[in-house]
């Protein structure tokens, strides 16, 4: 697999960094080389924050995202800031419950109502897992088995069951979004 760059963005508290770490961990579980970086700092709480993941079957030179193949946007502010940074021919996957999409040339945009699906599950906080799962089911950048395994590993005991439910919800949401 050639180098792929995925940028996950939203506002602080949505679990953007958790999702970035999760995707990176899934990459390792899938036997890929992985680099994961994130924005850190007080400005990350409540305002736009992002995590970058680089996946490749070859050793990774530069480990940060330069020009993403995929942008996963979980808030309007993050969408406005990062959606247009995606490579021509790339994909923007956004939370259709929270984001009003714009027009971007030569980019496929797919909405997934992750926030409302998470609320229906009874836990708003798992929208990140719904979103990332749906996005990976759509792009195929990492195997879903590896993602599920990484999720089980990274989830704190008390949230594991809920996170795995969110995973299933994300899989279904991807199929619905592609129909």
């Amino acid at each position: 697999m050639p180098r792929r760059e995925i940028l996950i963005c939203g506002f602080g508290g949505q679990g953007v960094i958790f999702a970035g770490e999760l995707l990176g961990r899934a990459g390792i579980r899938a036997g890929l080389e992985t680099g994961q970086s994130a924005s850190y700092g007080s400005e990350a709480r409540g305002s736009a924050c992002h995590a970058g993941v680089v996946l490749s079957s070859e050793p990774i030179g530069y480990p940060k995202v330069r020009r993403p193949d995929v942008v996963i946007a979980m808030s309007q502010a993050a969408y406005d800031r990062f959606a247009s940074t995606v490579k021509p021919g790339g994909r923007v996957i956004f939370d259709s419950h929270l984001v009003k999409r714009g027009e971007i040339d030569d980019v496929e945009q797919i909405g997934v109502p992750a926030a409302s699906l998470a609320t229906r599950l009874g836990r708003k906080g798992v929208a990140n897992v719904v979103m990332l799962t749906a996005a990976m089911e759509i792009t195929g950048d990492v195997s879903m088995d590896a993602l599920r395994e990484a999720l089980g590993e990274q989830s704190p005991e008390k949230y594991r069951e809920m996170n795995l439910k969110a995973f299933d919800e994300g899989m279904a949401a991807a199929k619905a979004a592609l129909e």
Binding site: G24, R25, I28, T34, Q36, S37, Y40, G61, Y62, R66
Partner: protein, 386 residues
């Protein structure tokens, strides 16, 4: 005298792990046998300290959160003289406070490891953002003449590997040793492969022999520990072979400080490490270390796709700098560039070693070095505007 070498099973089961640079450095410390940590939390090194809290508890080591960084480095010196393998971690502002203790550690030849996760400075600067402005401070920050060793990891794997090496070098040369990482590596997550075994070097010992002088040509005296039955005097003042103060004896001073400096300078080429990439036909040489070298690797491959014959020289040891290797790498290149996340530090060392003009590429915006900064720098200054 020569250190002894022990090979032990790695504390973590051999596998591929997904970790942050800070965490990998903590795991490297545990693998190297670190059993004492004293520190004061500071971004972006706190994740390392937190990992040490848990790991030292599991491995029956000692952890102390100190009142500040002056206390931290002092506690390390005491622990070192008690026979422990001590470490602390900090960032710029904390490193500044440690400087007095670094000199004391160098003078008393106390092996210890300081992991500096550099952030954008000066002063408190930008706590969560990378920089590499501490290169000269670790080498010259304490007053007068002394030598230290400093290693520069460019990946999370190397944060693990070079932290182990730092402990070993500190012990073998009885010298404070630094791991000079930065926020970009400290907070980066990558794969770390943990092998089956770890090599641990131990300080030379020779019961009854003086701890502050030696006839051995490597200049490293044996080091006893308090509690082993020897009478020990440890002082930052000029001292003789047994540690007695010699503050009016010019021969004693010259001999002591000459040996402190000589034991590292004479072994410099043995300690120094570097790697090279795409040098065979290179006309442009990029000298880069730490995270900037990751950007440089990407930059040289892009430059080559555009027909610019660029190569990379990467020092793994910044102090001592791999001088012979650099001279060899620069022998037949036309231009030399040094990209850094500071206003030009290692570039001065490269100029000194090569006796030629070297072009600094500085990116000081609180972001990790970008490949494009290096590409632009090389193209602009080499007269190759695209």
């Amino acid at each position: 005298m020569k250190h002894t070498v022990e090979t032990v099973p790695a504390p973590l089961p051999p596998d591929d792990y997904f970790m942050m640079g800070d965490e990998a450095s903590a795991e490297g410390a545990i693998a190297a046998g670190c059993n004492f940590f004293a520190g004061y939390p500071i971004t972006p090194s706190s994740e390392l300290m937190v990992r040490m809290v848990h790991r030292l508890k599991e491995t029956n080591g000692s952890f102390i959160q100190m009142e500040d960084e002056i206390g931290s480095i002092s506690a390390l010196i005491g622990a070192s003289w008690a026979g422990a393998r001590p470490m602390t971690t900090t960032s710029g502002p904390g490193l500044s406070l440690m400087m007095e203790g670094i000199g004391y550690a160098a003078m008393t030849e106390a092996p210890l490891v300081v992991v500096d996760i550099q952030r954008a400075g000066p002063s408190t600067g930008q706590a969560t953002r990378p920089g590499s402005g501490d290169i000269f401070q670790v080498r010259f920050g304490s007053h007068s003449d002394y030598e230290i060793i400093a290693l520069s990891p460019w990946s999370v794997q190397e944060a693990y590997d070079l932290t182990i090496d730092a402990f070993n070098l500190a012990e073998a040369y009885r010298v404070p040793t630094f791991v000079l990482a930065d926020e970009s590596i400290g907070h980066l997550r990558e794969k770390v492969t943990i092998g089956e075994t770890v090599e641990r070097w131990h300080r030379p010992t020779a019961p009854g022999m003086p701890p502050f002088d030696t006839d051995d040509e490597n200049g490293v005296p044996p080091m006893p520990a308090f509690g082993q039955g020897e009478r020990l005097l440890v002082t930052g003042s000029t001292h003789d072979a047994r540690g007695f103060r010699k503050t009016q004896d010019s021969a004693a001073h010259q001999r002591l400080v000459g040996r402190l400096v000589g034991k590292i300078r004479n072994a410099a080429e043995k300690i120094a490490r570097y790697e090279t990439y795409s040098l065979e036909d290179a006309e442009i040489l990029v000298v880069a270390y730490g995270f900037s070298a990751r950007a440089a690797l990407e930059a040289i491959s892009e430059l080559r796709r555009d027909g610019v014959k660029a190569g990379l020289f990467r020092p793994l040891t910044l102090w001592p700098f791999p001088e012979a290797g650099l001279k060899l790498a620069a022998k037949s290149v036309e231009r030399v560039f040094v990209p850094e996340m500071n206003w030009g530090q290692v570039v001065r060392e490269v100029e000194r070693i090569l006796h030629r003009d070297v072009v600094p590429i500085t990116q000081v915006d609180g972001e990790g070095m970008r490949p494009q900064s290096i590409i632009d720098g090389v193209r602009g200054r080499a007269g190759m505007n695209s």
